[in-house]
C-alpha cells in the first residue's frame, strides 16, 4: 500500500543497488547458520548516538544567543546564563517525559497538572509530617496519575489527546479539592534542595540544573542504547510493523507513560526548588510549554523521530527567547506571540522536511 508512491519519492541510491542476485556460491549453502557466528566487517564502526537532526534547533539556539548578545547588554553574562538554566529546569524536565510520549505517537496534556498534583501532595504532607515521606508520596501520586493515562491509552485505546485532556481537567480539579484550594509554603530543605547549589561568584549551578542534565543523559541512553529505546522508536514509526515483529506494543506504550510520570515527579521536585510553595493553581500552561519545547527541539508529532537531545535544546530555545525578549524590554504578550510563531515554524518544518526526506 503506497509503496509505489513512496518509491517515486525515495532518493534512489543507485539503480544497480536494488535486490541483486549474487553469484551462486558455496557460501549460499551455509547462509543462515552463519547468523549465529558473527563475522568481522570492520567498516561499519562509526557511532551514531544522535542520528536525528538536532542541527536545526541548535542553529536556532545559536541565532537567539547571538541576537540577544548583540542587542542587549544584560543577556550574555554568566549570571544570566545560570538564570536561563534555572528557568529551564521545570519545563525541561516535564518536556523529557513529554518527549517519550510523543515518540510513541502520543501527547500528554496532563503533564503540568500531574506535576502540580505532585507538588501539592508533597507540600501538604510535609507541612505536618516527614519531608522524605512527603516527597515519596508526591512521587507515587505522579506515577499513579501518569500510569492511569498509560492504561486508558495502551489498554483501552483511547486517543491520547482525549484521554490526557480528560485527565488534565480531572487532576487539576482533584488537586484543588485535595488542597481545598490552599497553597502550602514549603520549608523543608529536602523539598526545596533543587533550587540551591554550589556558587561560583555570582553564578549558581543548582542541583536542579544538574538533575535536568543527568535525566536527559539517562533518558538519551535508554532511548539510543537499549532494546526498549529501539522499540519506542519502532512503535512511533509504525505500530503495526512493531506488533508484527513481536514487540508488545501495549506494554511499551504503557511504560512510556509510566516513566513519564517519574519524570513529572522530578519536575514537581524541581518546581518546589524554583518556588518553594505548592500552589494547586500554578503552572497552568506547563503542558503547552512542554509540548512547545519538544516540538521546537525537532521531535515529530507523528512519533518515531526525535529525541531528548533536541528537547534539551528546544527547552533552552523557549526559555532563552523569553528571557532575551524580557531583557530587551519587550512586552510578555509579544513573547507569547514569538513562541507561538516558533512552534508553527517548527511543525511546518517537520511536515515539509520530514517523512522520507531524511537520508
Amino acid at each position: 500500500m503506497g509503496t509505489r508512491e513512496l518509491l517515486g519519492r525515495v532518493r534512489m541510491q543507485d539503480p544497480e543497488m536494488t535486490v541483486a542476485t549474487a553469484p551462486r556460491s558455496d557460501s549460499d549453502k551455509e547462509a543462515v547458520a552463519a547468523m549465529a557466528t558473527p563475522p568481522t566487517s570492520p567498516r561499519q564502526q562509526t557511532l551514531s548516538l544522535f542520528a536525528y537532526p538536532i542541527m536545526g534547533p541548535l542553529f536556532a539556539l545559536i541565532v537567539i544567543f547571538v541576537t540577544f548578545s548583540l542587542t542587549t547588554s544584560t543577556f550574555m553574562n554568566a549570571g544570566n546564563m545560570s538564570l536561563i538554566a534555572q528557568q529551564s529546569v521545570v519545563t525541561g524536565t516535564l518536556a523529557l517525559g513529554q518527549t517519550l510520549i510523543i515518540l510513541v505517537s502520543g501527547i500528554d496534556l496532563a503533564d503540568g497538572a500531574i506535576m502540580v498534583l505532585g507538588t501539592v501532595v508533597a507540600g501538604s504532607i510535609a507541612s505536618h509530617s516527614d519531608a522524605a515521606l512527603a516527597m515519596a508520596l508526591g512521587f507515587v501520586a505522579c506515577v499513579v496519575a501518569a500510569s492511569i493515562n498509560g492504561l486508558v491509552i495502551a489498554r483501552f485505546r483511547l486517543p491520547p489527546f482525549i484521554a490526557t485532556l480528560g485527565m488534565f481537567t480531572i487532576i487539576a480539579a482533584a488537586a484543588r479539592l485535595y488542597s481545598q484550594s490552599r497553597s502550602f509554603p514549603v520549608t523543608s530543605d529536602l523539598l526545596s534542595v533543587l533550587g540551591s547549589g554550589p556558587e561560583f561568584g555570582k553564578v549558581v549551578v543548582t542541583y536542579g540544573t544538574m538533575l535536568w542534565v543527568a535525566l536527559t543523559l539517562v533518558l538519551g541512553y535508554a532511548l539510543n542504547e537499549t532494546p526498549w529505546g529501539v522499540r519506542v522508536y519502532a512503535i512511533g514509526n509504525s505500530p503495526i510493523a512493531a506488533r508484527l515483529n513481536g514487540v508488545n506494543v501495549r506494554r511499551v506504550v504503557f511504560s512510556a507513560y509510566a516513566l513519564a510520570g517519574v519524570l513529572y515527579a522530578f519536575a514537581a521536585w524541581q518546581a518546589l526548588g524554583r518556588t518553594p510553595i505548592a500552589d494547586p493553581s500554578g503552572y497552568q500552561l506547563a503542558n503547552l510549554d512542554s509540548i512547545t519545547a519538544v516540538v521546537i527541539g525537532g521531535t515529530s508529532l507523528f512519533g518515531g523521530r526525535g529525541g531528548v537531545a533536541g528537547t534539551f535544546i528546544g527547552t533552552l530555545i523557549v526559555v532563552a527567547l523569553k528571557n532575551g525578549l524580557t531583557q530587551a524590554g519587550i512586552d510578555s504578550l509579544y513573547q507569547q506571540i514569538a513562541t507561538g510563531a516558533l512552534v508553527m515554524l517548527a511543525v511546518g518544518a517537520d511536515q515539509h522536511l520530514g517523512r522520507g526526506h531524511r537520508a
Binding site: M12, M17, T18, P39, A234, N245
Partner: protein, 275 residues
C-alpha cells in the same frame, strides 16, 4: 478434540479443520493445510477466499475458533505472533512490516535485540549494535541481497529492497517455516524476479516456504505444489506438473469441481463424518 487421522512425518506444518467466525462472517470454514519440508507451497484463491486469514492463523496473528495446527508433527497452539516465531515460523505480511525510520540492522533484530555480554547487557540493557550489524550484513550477503550499508534506514531503500529486507529477516529467524503474503504485489517486473530468486534460495537453505500469490505465472514458475483456497477452506492441493494453469483458475472461481483435478495431498483426507 482428538483428530481421527495420522499426521505425516514429512510435513513441516499441517492444519486440520481450522474455523474462524467474525459475527456472521465465516472467514475460515474447516480449512485444512499441509506444507512438506523444503518445498515452496503456493496458496492461491480469489479475493476474500480467506487466504490471509489462514496465514494469520498459522502465524499466530489470530486464534482460530477450532481446529488444530501441527508443526513437525507436534500439535501447537500459537496465542500470539511471538509464539509462532519462537517455534520457528516467520511471516512476511502483506502490509510490509518494516519500520521505515529504523535502519536495516535494527529492523532485522526488532523485537529480538541482542544485548552486550556481561554487566553492560545484563544491568544496563546495552544493545550490542556492532554484533547485530555484523550479523545482519552477513545474512543479507548470504542471501545475495545487496545494499549500500546495513545502517541505511528503510526509507532510503527501493520497494524491492524493502521487501528483500523483510524476507531476509524472516529467513534469518524462521528456522522451520517462512510464510510470505503476496511479497511481490507492489513490485515491478525486475524486482519481482529478484524476490522470486530470493525465495528459491530460501528453499535451497532448507526452509519450507508458503507463498500467497495472485499471479499464476509466478506460482507456476516457483511452486512445488499449489494449495487452492475457496470459500474459507482448501478446495484442492495440486502439483503444477500435473495440473494446468487454466484448471487451477477454474477451481479458484468454482467453474471446475475440486475433485476434477489430480490431488497432490500427502496427508490422508479427513473422514467426512469428522466434527
Amino acid at each position: 478434540m482428538t483428530p481421527a487421522f495420522a499426521t505425516v512425518p514429512s510435513l513441516a506444518m499441517q492444519a486440520i479443520g481450522l474455523t474462524k467466525h467474525y459475527g456472521q462472517v465465516v472467514a475460515m470454514d474447516g480449512a485444512d493445510f499441509e506444507l512438506a519440508r523444503g518445498e515452496i507451497l503456493a496458496v492461491v484463491g480469489d479475493n476474500g477466499a480467506g487466504k490471509s486469514t489462514l496465514i494469520k492463523a498459522l502465524a499466530g496473528a489470530l486464534i482460530p475458533d477450532s481446529g488444530q495446527i501441527y508443526l513437525d508433527g507436534e500439535p501447537v497452539r500459537f496465542s500470539s505472533p511471538l509464539d509462532a516465531r519462537l517455534a520457528g515460523v516467520e511471516t512476511v505480511y502483506q502490509e510490509l512490516a518494516v519500520a521505515t525510520q529504523l535502519d536495516i540492522a535494527q529492523n532485522m533484530f526488532l523485537g529480538r535485540e541482542v544485548r552486550k555480554p556481561g554487566v553492560l547487557g545484563a544491568f544496563l540493557w546495552q544493545l550490542d549494535k556492532k554484533r547485530m550489524r555484523q550479523q545482519a550484513a552477513e545474512q543479507m550477503h548470504s542471501l545475495g541481497v545487496r545494499v549500500q550499508s546495513i545502517r541505511q534506514t528503510i526509507e532510503t531503500l527501493s520497494g524491492g529492497q524493502r521487501q528483500a529486507v523483510a524476507v531476509a529477516r524472516a529467513a534469518a529467524w524462521g528456522r522451520k517455516v517462512v510464510m510470505l503474503d503476496e511479497p511481490t504485489a507492489a513490485l515491478g517486473v525486475r524486482e519481482t524476479h529478484q524476490v522470486l530468486d530470493l525465495i528459491r534460495r530460501l528453499r535451497e537453505h532448507g526452509r519450507s516456504v508458503v507463498l500467497i500469490s495472485h499471479s499464476m505465472p509466478e506460482v507456476f514458475a516457483i511452486a512445488d505444489r499449489v494449495h487452492i483456497h475457496r470459500l474459507g477452506r482448501r478446495a484442492a492441493i495440486v502439483s503444477p506438473k500435473t495440473t494446468v494453469m487454466s484448471d487451477v483458475v477454474a477451481v479458484i472461481t468454482g467453474a471446475l469441481r475440486s475433485d476434477a483435478v489430480v490431488s497432490a495431498a500427502l496427508a490422508p483426507a479427513r473422514a467426512p463424518t469428522a466434527d
